[in-house]
Subunit: 200 residues, 2 copies
């Protein structure tokens, strides 16, 4: 029996966060009430506002509170480069790690016929139109290196070729800072097969 029904309700609500079970939810609720009431109120406000106002960018399908997201609306990006990613998190990872200055297309998923996710669900009709419009020179395919991601990449490459756009793919190989001993066999075999010549 908890001392407070409102507290129980808060703990229950916190469990909708990914990776948060009963114990973590309790810890979070107690922490917020004991030491972070101000932060908690700020979080409540930010959450309600974000959920009410964030939709999808009309052009790239990423999350955005405006019809066009800041990247698609920017005048300083190279509109000849388009990078297709599976999720907003992938887009953010590329944006943070690389100096890429082109545009993005966020699939919000990957081809998975068994789950009923086909080209239409990923907005590929829209992507095909955009490729056909002629502005895009290169489609950089950055889907995840999983079976479904690879199938999606294959499909995207075909779309690009049909529209006379050059498709490209992120390089696979041994991760930087990794040790060969601990690299999985598939990656190692791929890296060995696609070895590059040392030129200078």
């Amino acid at each position: 029996m908890s001392a407070s029904p409102l507290l129980e309700q808060l703990i229950e609500s916190l469990r909708c966060l990914p990776g948060v079970g009963q114990k973590s939810a309790q810890r979070m609720a107690y922490h917020l009430l004991e030491r972070e009431r101000e932060g908690g109120l700020r979080l409540a406000g930010a959450l309600a506002e974000a959920i009410e106002r964030i939709g999808h960018c009309e052009s790239c399908r990423d999350f955005s509170e405006t019809p066009l997201c800041a990247i698609c609306a920017s005048g300083s990006r190279d509109r000849g480069l388009l990078c297709a990613v599976e999720s907003p998190a992938d887009r953010l990872a590329i944006e943070t790690a690389t100096g890429y200055r082109g545009l993005y297309f966020v699939l919000q998923g990957r081809l998975s016929p068994l789950d009923g996710i086909g080209p239409r669900e990923l907005g590929l009709d829209k992507l095909a139109e955009r490729l056909a419009a002629g502005e895009v020179r290169e489609l950089i395919i950055a889907t995840n290196p999983t079976v479904e991601g690879e199938a999606t990449a294959h499909y995207l490459a075909q779309l690009a070729r049909q529209a006379q756009v050059r498709p490209s793919r992120l390089a696979h190989g041994v991760p930087l800072g990794g040790e060969l001993e601990y690299v999985d066999r598939g990656t190692l075999a791929h890296a060995f097969g696609s070895r590059t010549e040392i030129t200078s």
Copy 2:
């Protein structure tokens, strides 16, 4: 650069949760926006309501949205038993695991002179009054088995004796289901020293 300032604000706000860094906050924000908008709105509401309305019980200092918490207000608890715990989480743990039917006193901390936490900050003046009132027969001291918790327990036991109340302490020893090999030396020494006779 994120596509949405509101999303950035949400990620920043999520970081006030304990154990949540930049990466987890991102994952939580994307999860809520992609798959849990309803749960997210519920969480925002529960959070704002809990923070605005939950204060402390006048009697036991636990969290409560009413002047007296449900346990202190209950007519079916034994008012002769009082269990002192450090935090609301400890109270919940005891309430869930044991069949205890007495009342609680939540210290909301432990004696820690270096951090400026003395008897007054833990409400021990109020506890002393309550013990002196004569209703309480036994004070069960359930502070944590840490150095500061033990010091607090020692102080509480003195308070109880001054008021002619019997102090008791949770038993220490080998945890159930544990293996002796992995029990720390202090616990093992204590369990060995306080071995109990097998009677039947």
